[in-house]
């Protein structure tokens, strides 16, 4: 079964029209000795069989429909309204290619234009692109944009330790051939004044995450001061932000961001074991022509009707080749559509409501957990939906106990990335966590100490 409609009779007629005897004749350019290798793959299966097989495979996972979960750390379980799946599931959207031919792609183009507009609304930036692969790669592209905005003359990138550890790793992977210096995260300090002290005339950009990887909200005045220091040195201020937080907290434009990017999975995307996700990317207008990726713009047709096209393509690989701003071609258009539908469903008040629910529930959890003997908050800094919790024993031991005895998936073990934070759990609470789930976690942790 290969979804081939043609029959042997069709093939016979076609071969005759081509003027060859057999299909093998079409492959004469391939070296004889290498042609038709054996492929050792499992025997093919039918449609009901593959569905059974996949359901069985999927059932070897513990999924979050069956276990309360306090994991976040860059991938978040938020409510996805039913309309998102139904709109994204329209095959006119998902079986289309990149909208190279605008006259038959207005659906994709207008939804991307609306998505760009909503990302601008969230961040306060002037322009957004059609998406990157994920939050990490959009940050790497932000670095390249900043270096390119300085015409390659500035070679230093300062990144706060408050940026997701995997994002920092991806920035380093992307730039390993570019002769850049990436510094700033040698210590765990994320203090804005410390970062400001590193800025010099060789600095292309400084990157912070807000809320930080540890969940803390950076103080707007401190960020403003950092932005001023960055701008005084002629560098760019890059902010990676959780878009759900922007439903409630100040948009990065307010504290001087030049580029805002981040992970958009929370906007209507499933967890999907880490992908496909959505890298959103927005910037001030002076950097638009340095930006990577597809951009949709408004124009008119021959009759003067409003329409949308891919634009500013002279930045892109298919036109500029080695001089392009990036190599990106395919992006995450369908995830951007999901985000647009999500943000439309939420609207002005819904997104704020989601953010407030996260905030209140996370604070309820923090208050209750930090009251347990042996448990305390790492600091009293304001946070959004995640917070580091100091525990009386290693986090992996606690998580094993929670999973095996209570069926709970505990928080993220910060020691994985921050050796200075042993026995510290990054607890994430969203609107999907009920009060009951939080209360059970509060009940479970002391029970472990009693059993120990």
């Amino acid at each position: 079964m290969s979804y081939v409609p043609n029959t042997d009779a069709d093939r016979g007629v076609m071969l005759k029209a081509i003027g060859v005897e057999s299909i093998e004749d079409l492959f004469r350019d391939i070296p004889d000795s290498l042609r038709y290798p054996q492929l050792s793959l499992p025997t093919s299966v039918s449609e009901p069989e593959i569905l059974r097989e996949l359901r069985e495979i999927s059932e070897y996972n513990v999924d979050l429909d069956h276990a309360p979960c306090f994991l976040g750390a860059g991938a978040y379980r938020h409510f996805v309204p039913s309309v998102v799946g139904h709109m994204v599931g329209r095959s006119e959207f998902y079986t289309a290619y990149t909208p190279y031919q605008p006259e038959v792609s207005q659906g994709t183009l207008q939804t991307i234009f609306e998505y760009q507009s909503m990302i601008c609304a969230l961040t306060g930036m002037d322009a957004a692109n059609a998406s990157h692969y994920d939050g990490a790669t959009s940050l790497a592209e932000a670095v390249i944009t900043a270096v390119s905005a300085a015409r390659g003359k500035r070679r230093k990138v300062i990144v706060s330790a408050g940026v997701h550890p995997e994002y920092r790793a991806v920035v380093r992977t992307y730039t390993q051939g570019m002769k850049l210096t990436v510094i700033g995260d040698e210590t765990d300090a994320t203090d804005a004044s410390v970062l400001a002290g590193m800025v010099d005339t060789d600095t292309a950009c400084i990157i912070v995450q807000n809320p930080t990887f540890l969940g803390y909200l950076e103080e707007p005045a401190a960020l403003r001061a950092l932005a001023d220091a960055v701008h005084a040195a002629g560098a760019l201020f890059v902010v990676s932000a959780d878009p759900i937080s922007l439903g409630l907290f100040a948009p990065p434009v307010d504290y001087g961001a030049d580029i805002v990017c981040g992970e958009g999975q929370a906007l209507g995307g499933g967890l999907n074991f880490g992908g496909p996700y959505l890298g959103y990317f927005a910037c001030k207008k002076q950097y638009v022509r340095k930006m990577a990726g597809r951009i949709v713009g408004q124009t008119v047709d021959r009759r003067g009707e409003r329409g949308f096209v891919l634009t500013l393509s002279t930045r892109e690989q298919h036109i500029r080749r080695e001089k392009a701003t990036s190599n990106i071609c395919s992006n995450e258009a369908l995830m951007a559509l999901a985000a647009a539908v999500y943000l439309t469903a939420m609207g002005k008040t819904g997104l704020r409501e989601v953010a407030e629910l996260c905030y209140h529930k996370a604070h309820y959890a923090a208050n209750r957990l930090s009251a347990l003997p042996g448990y305390e908050l790492l600091s009293e800094r304001p946070f959004f939906k995640e917070f580091p919790l100091r525990c009386p024993r290693p986090v992996d031991e606690i998580n094993d106990y929670l999973l095996n005895e209570w069926g709970i998936i505990g928080g993220y073990d910060l020691q994985r990335d921050y050796p200075a934070l042993p026995n510290t759990m990054l607890v994430c609470v969203t609107e999907m966590n009920t009060k009951d789930e939080i209360d059970v976690l509060v009940e479970a942790l002391p029970a472990m100490e009693e059993e120990a």
């Binding site: 996949l54 979050l64 959207f93 290619y97 605008p102 234009f113 992908g275």
Partner: protein
């Protein structure tokens, strides 16, 4: 057929979602941190649904009709793939769950790595890259890491044929190499003379697409590999055109060192209007240690992983883990690749099996050659050879000097077809790059051929019809120059 912008149908006080009440005591919000306004649209659920359904109707997709976009492999996407990727046991798993409770995901990823190894002949595969260009960047960075690991710092150039995808030179620049273009010969192969002239110890490697973007299998691929390897360079394979050769030849047997796959082309995962894709990268023994990670490895079941499920233990005395390859170039994205896309590719490969994959490639090549046979007397064919899964014609019709490829492409829309790729590859003037794929019937190919023949006639007899095309689409030809000159990139703020 103008659909208003979502912001234009917004009305204060409407909302399209029903959220739960807060079931915990409210905590004070930090003053000075909050935003004042959030200018998102306000619409009800029914407004939302009608808006996006209307927009979807303005789109053309594979499910609507023939989409012969060259180099993009717009084959039909089986519906079962969609159902597979939406199984809740996959969708609702968090990437940081401990391996013991995501063995299903890791097993599937491991199996897909194994399938891709078998199809390509490589010794290792990483599923990290999220798209083809992402896989290219991985491959070029791996080549760089390999040379650096040997203390060979003089290699500064990447050789790229003039028929290559634009992503190849763009990836090369991102990885810090300079691009050197190699010309094609009269038969559409890489010119061996030009290649020889450029092979020296400054060459990091060659990026080769084979079959190339002319739809031709390079007749000298083994000689090309020999020349590159002799000068100490490596051979990169752009796997965009793998759909022509599954089960026909293994790229590793052609002496490629590293190659990316396009799951969203060859393995039938839909393109989503531009993504998500999947760009796994495969490598031979020499380059495998440099693969981006983490990758999934299989271990003997250890005590830590003992599950309560005895059946699982008996059947599979293995468990699956994530691991960084020994000298990895690092992570290319957060987490582990586009898992949801991997589920679709796994489903496709399991349903086709070895025979089905070969059948897919054979029929893709048969369909392309059949369509070519119907068109080559009408449209100029710059390289008259047996093609693989696609072919490139020129839209420069002898009797219609004022008609351009863009006119032909736009006119095709009036016949209900998506146009082919146009103006690429760059070495063919007025290129029309046509890839029918294996999932189209002879009747569809005939209808498309007849439309193109009719258009060639119109080009001569009534060229105005082409210049003003399309006539039957929701919107007429758009002013792209204006869009770029005075960019409007978001809805005007009210």
């Amino acid at each position: 057929m103008r659909e208003p912008l979502i912001f234009e149908i917004s009305s204060p006080g409407r909302i399209g979602v029903n959220l739960p009440k807060c079931d915990v005591p409210q905590a004070p919000l930090p003053q000075g941190y909050l935003r004042e306004d959030l200018p998102l649209p306000e619409v009800s659920e029914v407004d939302l649904v009608r808006h996006y359904v209307h927009l979807s109707q303005l789109n053309y997709g594979v499910d609507k009709g023939f989409y012969p976009l060259g180099s993009c492999t717009m084959k039909y996407n089986p519906k079962v793939n969609e159902d597979a990727a939406r199984l809740p046991g996959f969708v609702h798993t968090h990437p940081y769950q401990i391996p013991c409770i995501v063995q299903g995901n890791l097993f599937l990823m491991y199996q897909l790595q194994e399938f891709l190894k078998e199809i390509s002949g490589f010794s290792a595969v990483s599923l990290q890259p999220a798209a083809g260009a992402h896989g290219e960047l991985a491959g070029v960075l791996m080549m760089r890491a390999y040379h650096e690991s040997r203390g060979d710092h003089k290699r500064t150039h990447m050789l790229i044929p003039d028929s290559a995808h634009g992503t190849n030179p763009a990836s090369t620049t991102m990885a810090g190499y300079e691009t050197v273009q190699i010309v094609s010969d009269a038969r559409g192969n890489v010119s061996l003379d030009d290649l020889r002239a450029h092979c020296d110890d400054t060459v990091a490697g060659l990026m080769l697409t084979n079959p190339n973007t002319l739809g031709l299998f390079d007749e000298h691929v083994q000689e090309i590999a020999r020349l590159i390897h002799e000068c100490g360079g490596l051979l990169y394979g752009d796997g965009a055109n793998l759909n022509a050769i599954m089960g026909i030849v293994k790229p590793a047997d052609l002496a490629f060192d590293v190659m990316h796959f396009n799951l969203h082309k060859t393995f039938s995962t839909p393109h989503g209007g531009g993504g998500p894709g999947g760009g796994p990268v495969g490598a031979n023994d020499v380059l495998a240690p440099f693969l981006p990670g983490p990758v999934v490895v299989k271990d003997r079941l250890d005590e830590e992983c003992q599950s309560d499920d005895e059946e699982w233990e008996e059947e599979e005395a293995y468990c699956y883990h994530l691991k960084m390859p020994a000298s990895s170039i690092g992570r290319l994205k957060a987490f582990y690749g586009n898992f949801g896309v991997c589920v679709k590719a796994y489903t496709y490969i399991r349903m086709l099996g070895a025979a089905g994959l070969r059948q897919a490639s054979e029929n893709a090549v048969l369909n392309a050659n059949y369509l070519l046979s119907r068109l080559k007397s009408i449209y100029p064919l710059p390289y008259d050879r047996t093609c693989m899964h696609e072919f490139v014609l020129s839209g420069r019709l002898p009797d219609a000097p004022d008609v351009h490829t863009v006119d032909i492409a736009k006119r095709l829309m009036d016949f209900g077809f998506h146009p082919p790729t146009v103006y690429f590859p760059l070495i063919v003037p007025e290129a029309l790059m046509i890839e029918p794929t294996e999932t189209e019937s002879k009747e569809m190919l005939d209808a498309f051929a007849e439309a193109l023949i009719q258009i060639a006639y119109e080009a001569k007899a009534k060229p105005e019809l082409l210049h003003t095309a399309p006539h039957m689409t929701p919107i007429s030809r758009l002013d792209e120059v204006r869009a770029a000159r005075k960019p409007i990139l978001q809805c005007p703020k009210s």
